[in-house]
Symmetry: C5
Subunit: 363 residues, 5 copies
């Protein structure tokens, strides 16, 4: 039963090999992810209170124009494995080489770096895909005066609701600047963290039922996988709180006082998420303890059956053994009703034992 | 036994679905609770040293008058699912959209936000209802110069004692302002936390007795449910300490120095509650350990019975087996008292075994 | 065995019912303890370098005189259930209503409050009574310019040594002021904490011996009770450190620089006590682990006995069973020494098994 | 099985004997490592934007020249057991005796010391050698104005990629000063920490499979060894974060603002490494819990087999025992089909038992 | 086996009785140790760059001269039970009564107190004596301008290496002042902590081998004793870090900037020691877990033997039982080769069972 390999899908990719980075100069742009061989695909949404346009281009110089245009531009770069293109793009936008390195470093932990002309932040977009499986994707943002540069590995993302709001001019988004755009991007990511949490919560509840109702050795493995998933999600989400906090406390004029009010609301969500993760961690640890106590209870039940059967029939077998002996002189054997007397004695013994076990609450 | 579902009532509602918030603009008023389709019901108690009136109205402009009147007004809004009405009310009172959003967001964690003209705080009212079941209700307060605006989901609340004191003019309440009113509202909520703690404490003591006297597999489940209840209550109560502390340290003139003295007293209670919750957490974890040790002890007892029965009767059965063999030449079988000699030997063995087990303290 | 109720005395009283406080105005004097219906009994020791007098009175105005007299006065109030009297006393001494409330609130956690004219502190006096049982009594101090007001529930206390020193003029006490008197009162309380710790320590050592020598299911219950006692004592003692620290760092002229030197010595003791409690906590947790390992060892021993008996005699019984069969043609049965050959074979098997089990170290 | 000694190689050397240091004056240069009797071997790489030379010498005065030359010099000292030579070298470079002592003290924990003319730091170079075994080597750096002095025990190190970059003039290294050289040295060490972490991670995954598929008592020992390895690696790596942080916050002009930007990138890596180590620690602790639950499951399985066999055959054996009795009057024995009736009854019983066990899911 | 008392020597003395201090005035000199009835023995080493003398006297006034002499004096007081003498000595040196009290209070935790004219510190000298047993001795230092006053209970100490260095003028000691002398005294104590740690480490390794190779119930007791030893040593050593830190950060001119450099080196050692103790704590906790898993494994082995024996022979015994029945009509009994057929069937069953158990890896 425990010999076949687990088919419980791990929802997180393996860490990229650390060797790739060894011996390279700092600032070398090295893609560490698993979506290799992809051409970068750049799309731009440019908007202000009155106008709204969508562009698609891969000419770096044209992209640079959006950075300088007075309207707010959302420059979305999809596909990070073309290191040369990304490096060129970064240099054109006058980004520090360390920034460009981290923008494609898919194993970078969530963090924020402030430079003179831009603020850089990187985190994980974690969401449930169409098949309800957890996806964790690297995403990096560069906040500039009139633009937000977004780096992601795959076209799929959690920003479609936001694209709709820009298009339909709903909410404040069209009347505010790049910092508010960054806030809405972060907000979309963090809203999805709640969905991930609910997914973990329902897994915990499911496993809890399984532990009580029908625990198998395989259940223990599922609990262990869950514990690891909680650890991993926690690791990816926990530092986001610090990131938001640093944005709120930044004295950089790129982040306006008005947007900070919204960032504080995000901070609330981060605190709540971290509390939930702490609870899930304790609950997943409790699950294994419950499983163990259930295994012990089951063993107790098995042992009781054995003990009852053995305690009743071993003495009876001894009695019939006595009268199976071949001694030439055994008076009882000659008695007319000897056989029935012995049967009666054994029945009495049998019933006595049952009553005793009943009293011990073993039956 | 472990197959039927638990009928131990969980006293907390499920978390609202996170999906509801996805894709919406920040500041969108979205009710997340389970009491939907309710019209908001607004009642106002206006009082000063000399006068006391109770009003009921749903005309937003009339409600606004109470905010501006020189007497202290307690504006109590019951029912949060009518998002449009609440949003209108909030706008009329010039509340920030984020404040209105959080006022109806029933999954908001306890927190406090200071704005220029008002202080907003949200927390959980946790109390035992008429059926002695734990109820956890979202409640939000807006402290203004001459009024406190209260948002709650259900008419039932923990403020009746306070209403009586205002009515009967007992204590200081009638002679003080809106900040003291907020303090008494918070005090009523926190006094009920103590009742909740006592309820948890008595559950722990009850389970402790059950673990010692009559543990069943179902006991383990009850322990697990208790652990989760402690975790959940702790999560809801723990941040309140920070909320009170922020009120005490606020430099906002809305909170007077005199009221801060009373808030410090509330702070004492918060510290005590958090210490109790910490103790309950450790005690509930100990409960499962005790349960496990009890299960092991029971198994030991079962094993001893089995071992004693088997150790005594298996050798005896072997002896009677010997004399049940059909060899043509077995001298003992022909002895006159062979049978009685064997019976005697077996009785001696039986008694020897009993003495041995007595010495091992297994009997 | 595990069915009768524990007769291990819990040394702490139940928490007072939280309901008593619900709905009451803050500052309402509410006695929460269990020594109800007692008249307050006030005795005063007034002393300076040269004189020493003891008074007994319940006239509040006369008591007030001692507050104002130039000699140092120790005003000792015993019995807190007469709420009206205590409230009157407090008002006469111009204490804040919140102070009077906490002075009789026997479930108040250790804390210190500084007011303009006095410093209020409350803590637990924990000591072993004449029957060597742990007593935890609420005690509150009000430090004023020339007097210390002490509130306690019962006449019995830990201050008799101090009374002797005042009487016999030993040490510094007679030549110093009210702040030094408060220090000596606190010192007497904290000295008794050490006695309580030694008591816990000896209980741990006793249980350790019991776990090794003769563990019963009842031992587990005693370990659990000990764990709870450590938790409870820790809760009552731990905050005292903060209380002393606040006295040391107070800028209130009521506490002189000279007395602070002595308070620092008290601080040392608090640190040591907290370290001890931490150690005891870990040791009491270890006890249950040891108990569990002992239970497992015992089960191992039981299983070995069963396995040895069964492994030796079941095969032998099988052999004698063979020759108990009634086949008409079984050559061995006719052999002259068939019976003795079989006996020999079985003896050989028996000895072989014993040697094997000896090698496995099961014997 | 559990009697032969573990052949799982511990990858870390024993701690040097503490006695060596006892009674010696502070600042006495005492080599504590295991590579004794080695002559120190000094090689120098001197470079600037335009030139690049490699030297080899053991004349201390000549080495001193490189310190003062305007080009950046990397002075690499291999072999620390020649205490007199190292002491002389240190004195010539005007290093504090405590610095020289720590440079050869192979059991020094990672730390940084700032002096007026130099910054000293010491840490562990941990890497996988050619045989994929973990090597942990002591390494110390002295950052001076125009040179970095490196002390290591063995020729093998993790700096070959860096040597190549200097030689081929790739990256920034040739155009920057001694502080950037120190950064690249630290970067090379920390890049290797990631490789070590991946190695630990794959060991955890391997043991996880072993725990599920084929746990033996030996598996528990491997888990324990892993736990100890994680503890040891954590101890050696954890303080490096503080070291880097102190470099970043240093106000010493030896560390330029430009290099600090790169050090912040190192800081990112340190945070990530420490998070990973925390996760590995929790996972290795979980492994033993999983192992225990698996052992319990296996025992359950064993017990079930025993209980099924015994419960089925012990009653049947009793039945055949009855008809093996030798009573002179046993009516059934005379029945024509008595034997077949009994066989039928027993078959029915046998099948009933199988069905019962099937229902209990024991089969 | 588990009934005789442990003969594993506890290396630490019992805590002195707390009662001794109760009721006494603060500052009362009370010896709490176990070496009572000893006369104090005072020896002085006076030295400067050029001269070195050793004195022995018990005349307090003569001892005072050394305090005032311009050379550095190490005044070593051995034997603390003569409370009157110590009190007189302390008064003569103008020490605060609280200082004198703590100097002889052998249960004082490590700490430092700064007074105007001297710095007082107290800690534990822990070392292995001639019999390799752990000794923990109370030691107190008073640092004055030109002298260090040392209080210890027993003549034996860890300072002989230091005495040699003073005598032979090796290192810096003769050319520096009293603060450097204090540093070297502390350094000697802390160097011995490393020896104690190595001793603990080797005990852990020894127990680890015992757990794997030959665990007995007695092993669990040794693990428990080790856990307690680690807790106790940690308690005595941990606060020393804070003591050294306070010396480094002291603004008292008694501690020169030059000596602080050396104290920082001591700080390094303290950090390393505390890290080691943390590791040992975790390892000792792991030991019991390993022990438990080993006990479970052993039980599994025992159960397998039982199950195999029972599963093989119980069915066979049933078969022979069938043909032991005495029915008058049992056709098989009359068959010529009935007996041999049955023997063959049983052999087949026996081999089948062996193969099945082999497949389950139970054999
Ligand atoms: Mg990584
Ligand atoms: Mg990661
Ligand atoms: Mg990285
Ligand atoms: Mg992922
Ligand atoms: Mg919000
Ligand atoms: Mg838990
Ligand atoms: Mg939520
Ligand atoms: Mg919630
Ligand atoms: Mg929220
Ligand atoms: Mg709720
Ligand atoms: Mg109070
Ligand atoms: Mg616990
Ligand atoms: Mg455990
Ligand atoms: Mg209370
Ligand atoms: Mg309490
Ligand atoms: Mg209270
Ligand atoms: Mg009490
Ligand atoms: Mg003291
Ligand atoms: Mg422990
Ligand atoms: Mg060391
Ligand atoms: Mg080390
Ligand atoms: Mg060292
Ligand atoms: Mg090493
Ligand atoms: Mg980076
Ligand atoms: Mg864990
Ligand atoms: Mg003490
Ligand atoms: Mg101690
Ligand atoms: Mg003390
Ligand atoms: Mg000691
Ligand atoms: Mg050093
Ligand atoms: Mg552990």
């Amino acid at each position: 039963m425990s010999k076949k390999k687990s088919n419980y899908k791990t929802t997180h990719k393996k860490q990229p090999r650390a060797n790739k980075k060894i011996g390279k100069a700092p600032g070398t742009v090295t893609y560490l992810g698993f979506r290799e061989g992809q051409k970068s695909d750049v799309s731009i949404i440019e908007f202000d209170e009155n106008s709204y346009q969508v562009y698609q281009t891969d000419v770096v110089e044209k992209i640079l124009d959006f950075k300088n245009s007075p309207s707010t531009s959302w420059i979305n770069v999809v596909g990070l494995s073309d290191e040369a293109y990304i490096e060129n793009l970064g240099r054109t936008f006058e980004l520090n080489p360390l920034t460009i390195e981290d923008a494609v470093n898919t194993s970078q932990r969530p963090k924020i770096d402030e430079y003179e002309n831009y603020i850089f932040c990187v985190l994980k977009m974690i969401y449930l895909d169409a098949n309800n499986e957890l996806v964790s994707e690297h995403v990096a943002f560069v906040l500039m005066d009139k633009a937000v540069l977004v780096f992601q590995e795959l076209k799929e993302d959690v920003f479609n609701g936001l694209r709709d709001r820009i298009h339909t001019k709903s909410g404040r988004i069209r009347s505010r600047g790049a910092d508010y755009l960054l806030f809405t991007l972060l907000d979309a990511i963090i809203d999805n963290y709640f969905v991930v949490l609910e997914n973990i919560n329902s897994k915990i509840e499911q496993l809890e039922e399984e532990v009580y109702d029908n625990p198998t050795p395989y259940t223990a493995r599922k609990i262990q996988d869950l514990k690891k998933e909680v650890l991993r999600v926690r690791r990816r989400i926990f530092p986001v709180k610090e990131l938001i906090n640093r944005l709120i406390e930044s004295e950089n004029p790129l982040v306006t006082k008005d947007t900070k009010l919204f960032l504080k609301d995000l901070m609330d969500h981060c605190l709540e998420i971290n509390e939930s993760l702490q609870i899930y961690r304790e609950m997943s640890m409790s699950l294994l303890e419950m499983y163990m106590s259930n295994v012990s209870n089951k063993m107790n039940e098995v042992m009781k059956v054995l003990t009852i059967m053995a305690s009743i029939f071993i003495p009876l077998t001894f009695i019939v053994g006595i009268y199976g002996m071949n001694f030439s002189f055994m008076p009882e054997l000659e008695w007319k009703y000897g056989y029935f007397v012995v049967l009666g004695v054994m029945l009495t013994l049998f019933i006595t034992m049952l009553i005793l076990f009943k009293k011990k609450r073993w039956l």
